[in-house]
Subunit: 96 residues, 2 copies
Amino acid sequence: MYVLITYDVATGDADGARRLRRVSKLCTQYGQRVQRSVFECLVDPAQFELLKRELGEIIDERKDSLLFYNLGKNWKPRVERLGLNRVYDPEGILLI
Amino acid sequence: MYVLITYDVATGDADGARRLRRVSKLCTQYGQRVQRSVFECLVDPAQFELLKRELGEIIDERKDSLLFYNLGKNWKPRVERLGLNRVYDPEGILLI
C-alpha cells in the first residue's frame, strides 16, 4: 500500500525541533521525502501499523499534527505533480 | 472527488512570500487547510482542472512544488489523523 504522510510539528522550542528531526528520520526509513513535511511510503499493513505507533510515540499530541492518507495499491493515477518535484516511483527507481 | 493538495513554496524572497499567500488564498476557496501547507478539497473534475490551472499560473515552476493526491469518492477510510487536528468532514460540518 502506498501511504502519504504529512506533518506539522511545533518547532517553537528545542524539544519541538528534536521531535521534528525524529519524525523526519523515522519517515525516511519507510519512504521518500517529496516536500519539506511530506513523505510518500510504500509499506505493507503491518509496517504501516508499526510506523503509526512509532510516530505516535514521538510527537506531542497536544502540539503536533500527523496525517496519513492511504492511496492503496493503484496509486499512480491518483498522484499529480506540478513545479519542482522529484519524480519518485516507490516501486521503481528514483528519477531526478 | 476528494483531493489533497500539498505545497512547498520557496519563500526566500518577497516574491516567494507573495506566491505563498496567493496559493493559500486560492486553495481556501476550494477546501480546508488541515496543516500549514496541506489542503483537503472536495471538488468535481471540472473544478479540479480549473484549480490546477490556476495554481500553475501562480507558482514558479523552477522553485515551488505542488502535489495533488486524488483520494476519490470513498475517501473516508483512507484518512487517519494523529495529534492536534481539526476533524474536518468536507461533506458535512466542521468539528473542532
